[in-house]
């Protein structure tokens, strides 16, 4: 097995172009499990740990640009203000030790339907910046990034460089069902983001279908019927929950049944919208 250790982004892209079969490794919290258990013994490992820029974030063109290697701990500490949904989800990933190493780029690279960063990225209209040496940069909306179970829109010669997320203009919440608080893969999860300026609500479902996805019909319902000045209409809240549940297409597995997941999505949808709405009205009153 070869070990490739680029120190700049250009070197990393060149290495991936020359060796598309090389497996990138950032925090290693997914890759190492596979290596330790011989699930795979790749021909080459591409260590991105020396590419310092991947661990930085900054504001670019009105978006918060989060480097692919930024660990969850940094997101929790530094990005709770602009990216509250992603920061909340980050707090629930694995354990403190996992969060010190694991990254959103790795979560996207793994493209597990259960990845906790996906629902808040979907709800906030995130865009994934991917790049190859030969074809340059592609900006892939999160909605187009997830293609199937552990399959993404990333080409073999491409690497993920960053995600771009607009700073929150309204309340955002993330909710996850699991058997205990730490180190559990979500049975299912849900994220919501209010965009009061556009009178729109974004959603994201995790572990509820082969890919993370949005509940479009539920979003359209709110865009049509939500009165942004008034308390939440209980009937509308109930229909929102039903449409979010209807957007799920889950499976039965060891972590939970499909029927339970559909139910849980509906409950989390109602709960997170209620929390967000209370904040929204509170904010307006304040």
């Amino acid at each position: 097995m070869d070990f490739l250790r680029p120190t700049t982004w250009e070197e990393a892209l060149a290495a991936k172009a020359d060796r598309p079969e090389a497996v990138p490794i950032q925090g290693g919290t997914d890759v190492m499990v596979e290596l330790n258990f011989d699930v795979r013994r790749p021909a080459a490992l591409l260590d991105l740990g020396q590419v310092a820029e991947l661990r930085a974030w900054g504001m670019v063109g009105g978006f918060c640009r989060v480097g692919a290697g930024v660990p969850y701990t940094t997101i929790i500490e530094e990005l709770g203000g602009p990216l509250p949904g992603l920061a909340q989800a980050s707090r629930t990933v694995g354990s403190p030790q996992i969060r010190n190493r694991g990254s959103v780029g790795g979560n996207l690279g793994a493209a597990s339907p259960a990845g906790d960063s996906h629902p808040p990225l979907l709800a906030a209209d995130a865009v994934v910046e991917v790049e190859s040496r030969d074809r340059g940069v592609r900006m892939v909306p999160a909605t187009a990034f997830y293609l199937g179970v552990k399959r993404s829109a990333l080409e073999p010669d491409e690497l993920i460089r960053a995600v771009h997320v607009r700073p929150a203009t309204g309340p955002q919440y993330f909710s996850k069902v699991g058997t205990r608080n730490a180190m559990v893969i979500a049975v299912c999860s849900f994220a919501i983001a209010l965009h009061p300026g556009e009178r729109r609500v974004g959603t994201g479902l995790g572990s509820a279908a082969p890919t993370p996805r949005r509940a479009y019909e539920a979003e359209e319902l709110l865009a049509r019927e939500l009165d942004w000045q008034a308390p939440l209409d209980p009937a509308l809240l109930r229909r929102f929950g039903e449409l979010c549940a209807a957007a799920a297409a889950p499976i039965d597995d060891v972590r939970g049944t499909a029927a339970y997941r559909v139910h849980a999505i509906g409950v989390m949808a109602r709960r997170t919208l209620t929390w967000a709405w209370n904040d929204h009205l509170g904010r307006r009153a304040a």
Binding site: F3, S95, Q97, I98, N100, R101, N181
Partner: protein, 162 residues
């Protein structure tokens, strides 16, 4: 790489984990291999002060870094305050998880001092039992010595606060 203050130079295959390098190549056997998949915390070490699962780290990625294991916490014959507190409060039974628990607790107290929030707090306030349990959730103890572990950490956190 520096391990517990001493410079070490080793030649390992790229797929060797930091845990295997420490235990099998350097004979530093404090960090334990409980699961080899990030789920138990028995292998927790400090890398430049940050707690990580040594089983999920490639040794080669830690080239040039400072690694601290349980062996590096005491000063001569003086135990680290957390080591002493674990003994005082019976924070262990078989002891297998203890090196990881203590390394994790060292970093956890530092994170808390630095104002890091947890999943159960909005604003990081006092280290009560719920906070400690959440912040130590990456370390399992098969013997169930959790009450002693929490008491030991509370004790040291209290000493720091005073």
């Amino acid at each position: 790489m520096r391990v517990n203050g001493a410079a070490e130079s080793l030649d390992v295959e790229p797929w060797v984990s930091l845990l295997d390098a420490l235990r099998d190549r350097l004979g530093v056997t404090g960090p334990k291999k409980g699961c080899d998949q990030g789920a138990c915390g028995a292998c927790t070490v400090l890398a430049d002060g940050v707690r990580i699962n040594a089983c999920l780290a490639l040794a080669v990625q830690y080239d040039g870094k400072e690694i601290t294991t349980i062996e590096g916490l005491a000063t001569g014959d003086d135990l680290h305050p957390l080591q002493a507190a674990f003994i005082r409060h019976d924070g262990l039974q078989c002891g297998y998880c203890t090196p990881g628990q203590i390394c994790s607790a060292v970093a956890m107290l530092a994170e808390h001092r630095a104002g890091m929030p947890s999943a159960v707090t909005e604003r990081s306030g006092e280290l009560d039992e719920a906070e400690i349990r959440e912040r130590m959730s990456g370390n399992l103890c098969r013997c169930g010595a959790y009450n002693g572990i929490v008491d030991a950490i509370k004790d040291v956190a209290g000493q720091e606060a005073r």
